[in-house]
Structures are given as structure tokens and as C-alpha cells.
Symmetry: C2
């Protein structure tokens, strides 16, 4: 069970935009440089987030992206579901389904599903921005050794 780079890079890009768009819109190329991700790949992810209503854009020279809503109002759950095309852990829709034995697993998957959604729905972009600020304030910061 894992979350793909879509979720990871997309979320990072969103945080990047939130942090850097105070004075002017943030271009994809500048995000790409900071995050070391190709502009082409970022384009795909950011486009999804714009369509989903998390971002606004300005076209033309000096254009770029900015948040469409306050970071307190952007749910990480909504963002991840957008980027990952849903977060459900397994599909109970395949051709196997319909067998009595199989459907018992529904109990498990539903419980996991509910719990994952509840976890990410109680997190907001603002929380992550805050966490990042705190992290950066640690001057002698320890490496991430989770």
C-alpha cells in the first residue's frame, strides 16, 4: 500500500505555491527548479488541481498559479483524492465480486477506507504550511530519520 508520486509531488507543489505566491503568481518552471521535478510532469498535476478548484492562474508573461482559497479551507483529503484519483484501498467491483467468500473482505476494506479518509479530511493545507514553518525554524535541524 503506497501513495504515488502524483500525491507526493502534487502536494509539495501546492505547498510551494501557497508559500511563494504572496507577492506574485508562481510559475511551473520555478516550482520545478525548487522541487527538482520536470515541468511537464508538474503541469499534469497542477492542471488537475486547478480543475478541482484549489488553484487560480494568470496567463502570459509573469503569470503563474496561486491558491484559489484560503489554506484553512483546502482539505488535504480533497487534494489527495484529486491527485490520486481516489484513495480507496481496493476495488470490490472486479469480476471476482459476487462470490460469497470474497465479499467478506468488504468489512476490512471499508474500515480502512473510512479511516484513511477521516485522517486526511481532518488535515488542512494550513496545517502543513505551519508544520513546514516550524520545521524550517529549527536552525540546527536534524535530518529526517523517521
Amino acid at each position: 500500500m503506497r501513495i504515488s508520486t502524483k500525491g507526493r509531488y502534487g502536494l509539495r507543489a501546492l505547498i510551494d505555491i501557497a508559500v511563494n505566491s504572496e507577492t506574485e503568481p508562481v510559475s511551473i518552471s520555478s516550482i520545478g527548479e525548487r522541487q527538482s521535478v520536470s515541468t511537464s510532469y508538474l503541469e499534469q498535476l497542477i492542471s488537475k488541481m486547478k480543475k478541482a478548484g484549489f488553484l487560480d492562474s494568470v496567463r502570459g508573461v509573469n503569470g503563474g498559479y496561486m491558491l484559489a482559497r484560503a489554506p484553512e479551507e483546502i482539505s488535504i483529503g480533497d487534494v489527495l483524492r484529486t491527485l490520486e484519483d481516489g484513495l480507496t484501498p481496493a476495488n470490490c467491483l472486479g469480476d471476482e465480486c459476487g462470490s460469497a467468500d470474497f465479499c467478506v473482505e468488504k468489512v476490512v476494506w471499508e474500515r480502512i477506507n473510512e479511516s484513511v479518509n477521516a485522517a486526511v479530511d481532518s488535515l488542512w493545507l494550513q496545517d502543513l504550511i505551519q508544520a513546514q514553518k516550524e520545521f524550517q525554524n529549527e536552525v540546527e535541524r536534524e535530518n529526517c530519520t523517521l
Copy 2:
């Protein structure tokens, strides 16, 4: 984000053994027939569960597997972590790690992780056996249309 066939087939096999081992050990070939999974693949999954202490075995003719503990004492969390080699949604261990930006994501992954583990740790094999019995008791059972 998904759970692999290891978790699915393995869990099904465990339920199968629990249900069918009252009089004699359950052979891999009989599970394979009931669940439509190859014996070779099942072997690997069941072997893991045996090593993890959920199953006992009897070798030789008429041998097979049975639960090593009561189904009330087998946690679905333990089983899935065994089968899937952990349930963590992403690794914060790669070479990217160490960058300040990246580690913000830890907040998200940790929260998901805790919540998934809590969900499956509060489910026990007995609960699934019970759910299966109830399911089968519905004589006119509706198809699984989750």
C-alpha cells in the same frame, strides 16, 4: 493506493482455513480449488502466515494447515502487515529525504499510517468469520454491489 493480492488472497485463505479446519487440517490444494488461486502462490502466502505464528501445519499425506491461535486472538492488522510486509503508505527513507520541503509530508503520511493501523488492529479474525456466516445466512443474498 491499494492493497495487493497478497493481502486479499492471504486473508481469504486464512478465513478458509479457520472455517474448514474443525475436523482435519486444510490442504493448500483444497483452498486453491475453493478460492480459485494457484497452489504455488497460496503456498508463499500461507508459509508467511505460518512463520508469523498464525498457522500450524501437519506434513505428509492428509496433512494441511490449521489456526495456531483462537480467531479472537488473531488481529487482522498483524495478518495484513505480515502479508504485505507492512502497511505504511510511503517511505520517508529514500535519498530525497533530508530536504526540508520533503519532510513536511511526514505529517500526512504519519497520520494516514496511524489511522490505517488503528483500523485494522481493532478487527479480529473472529469478526470476519462472523461476518461471513451472517452473509451466507442471507438465503436470498444480494450481489455485492458496493
